[in-house]
Amino acid sequence: MRPGETTGSLSRPGETTATITAAPPVGGHGGLLPDHDAIAEWRRLRERLAHAGRDTAAVTLAAMAGGIRRTVISTIAGAGLGHAGGDLSVTDILTTLYGAVLRVDPADPAWPDRDRLILSKGHCSVALYTTLATCGFFPAERLSTFAAPLSPLNGHPSRRSVPGVETSTGPLGHGLPVGVGIAVGLRLRGSAARTVVVLGDGELQEGSNWEAAMAAGHRGLTSLTAVIDRNGLQQGARTSATNELEPLADKWRAFGWEAVEVDGHDHLALLDAVTAPHAAGRPRCVIARTVKGRGVSFMEDRVEWHHQVPDAGQARTALEELR
């Protein structure tokens, strides 16, 4: 038996040993294959944005984000599960990165010199899945299987089953250490690819982030960018009422990073923040000021929409507001 295989025994005393062996999709993706039409459309969008003026770029990215938000709402409403508030706060960050920044190939998710994105706040999987489907990593119609029995689209993103997912996330404070390892590894390999880790603000209470921040600063990982979805709310309360994070930018600077703060719903501001050249020898932290539930009036900045699921009427209202 090789690692990756699992064996469940059905044998009872006195019986011959009977085993069921099920091989999980090691390196495979549970049936999620590239959507070549969507890839072609995404490539055209990237090409357009590469030559577009700022006004056109802003309109294009806003349209992409609007589509993702609507799909997030309908996917969560359909599944009866999800983290709508955080999905809507992180949407513009993911849109900007996949729409205009990351050098990835949805037709070849394991391309060795790809840029890496890790969504450390893995509970916002629906925003990530929708963005990946928009790029063509898999067909968008598969989103309707989210959280359904045996779906590759788990409540939290799994590297085993979703192409484009670099590491399985869900428990908080895991993404940045992995991102540091990727950046160190790519540098060792002589690759120019970059690594972007998107974190929640609440998860900065996990100490593992600061272990990783210290290591990244010490190692001068200029290919590493952390983007903080700073919506100010965590599952149970405001971050400021739980564990004050401010002065947040100063904390990152003290760990040897450069830090910038931007409006996390302004695509061009995000674009500038993640593409400006790094100061010599410093990883960058982009603190993206966001609103949880952004775009849906009754969800915005409301702590209960961390993981509340909209009913049919609320979903209809949300989709109208996001039109």
């Binding site: 690692p3 699992t6 005393p13 399985s168 404070g173 250490p177 590894g185 390999r189």
Partner: protein, 316 residues
């Protein structure tokens, strides 16, 4: 009197890792300020860029290992077994095993090796914790030959693995001329019909000595060396239960979840026979490893006594 030559398996580990690194530029070492205790000095001297010392930060160390694997490297992540496994257990589960990252976790100086430094430094729960994680092979070499072979296998095989690299001095137990390590296979070191001693790591040589003591009492004990604790070689364990009718397990770890529990599961499911599970069943008192092993009955005498007990011969 023949004095056995004893070995610290970390030396074989360190030497083999340097050989692998010379042959494969993807091999890197990661540690938590443990260059000395992980015996990575020679590696650091020859491949300074390929040693990633993350400092005293085990969660970060395992996450960084997963990241290095993602970038196409083959990281050997080395730290004192208790800090590696206890402090970073969630990273081992989520970043390594669940993510199927090609990370080689190397738990150094496991069991009671830190002696009088005390239970905070003893790694006696690692086998239980890691055996509970799916898709994470748990490998415990018993001597330098097994250590070298297991590391070579790990480097050649894509996927996560935990290797328990012993520090407590052990004699050679691998029969010359045969493969020292085959993944997933337990190795029968001595034939016997009256009982089977199933041992792992440091306990293997003691199990062999116990079998010799038992022979003087007219008891023919089989000895099985389990180097792959997970997934366990079910066939060899079933054969032991069927053919010898009694099983004693011995490990330098808590048997509640480790080798003892693993063997008991198979015996219970296939051919229930009387068993004794030897291991550490409490936080250790103060003392050096030899003393502590004796304290827990993890000696040739102690193992032999348990075999007699399980056979009902202890008062004979």
């Amino acid at each position: 009197m023949i004095v056995e030559e004893l070995h610290d398996c970390r030396d074989a580990f360190a030497d083999e890792l340097v050989r692998l690194a010379r042959a494969d530029s993807r091999v890197v070492a990661v540690c938590n300020d443990s260059v000395g205790s992980s015996k990575l000095g020679a590696f650091a001297a020859e491949f300074p860029d390929r040693l990633v010392n993350v400092g005293i930060a085990e969660q970060d160390m395992v996450g960084i290992g997963a990241g290095l694997a993602n970038a196409g490297l083959v990281p050997f992540v080395c730290g004192a077994a208790t800090f590696l496994t206890a402090r970073a257990l969630e990273q081992i589960k989520a970043d390594v095993a669940y993510s199927l990252a090609n990370v080689k976790l190397c738990g150094m100086s496991p069991g009671l090796a830190y002696g009088a430094l005390g239970p905070t430094h003893h790694s006696t729960e690692d086998l239980s914790w890691l055996r509970a994680i799916a898709d994470l092979p748990v490998i415990v070499p018993a001597d330098p030959a097994q250590t070298r072979a297991a590391i070579r296998w790990a480097a050649e095989t894509d996927g996560p693995v935990f290797l328990r690299i012993g520090r407590f001095p052990v004699p050679d137990v691998s029969p010359p001329g045969a493969p020292a390590f085959t993944y997933g296979r337990a190795l029968r070191l001595r034939e016997g019909v009256d009982a089977t001693i199933v041992a792992t790591g440091t306990m293997v040589s003691r199990a062999m000595r116990a079998a010799a003591l038992l022979e003087e009492r007219g008891v023919q004990a089989r000895v099985v060396n389990v180097a792959t604790v997970s997934p366990l070689d079910r066939d060899e364990i079933t054969a032991a239960a069927r053919q010898t009718g009694a099983v004693v397990t011995a490990e330098e770890a808590v048997p509640t979840g480790g080798l003892g529990a693993a063997v008991a599961e198979v015996v219970l499911e296939t051919r229930p026979v009387p068993m004794r599970l030897l291991g550490t069943r409490a936080f250790a008192p103060t003392g050096e490893p030899d003393f502590l092993l004796e304290h827990f009955g993890l000696t040739a005498d102690g193992i032999a006594r348990s075999v007699l007990e399980v056979l009902g011969l202890d008062h004979a």
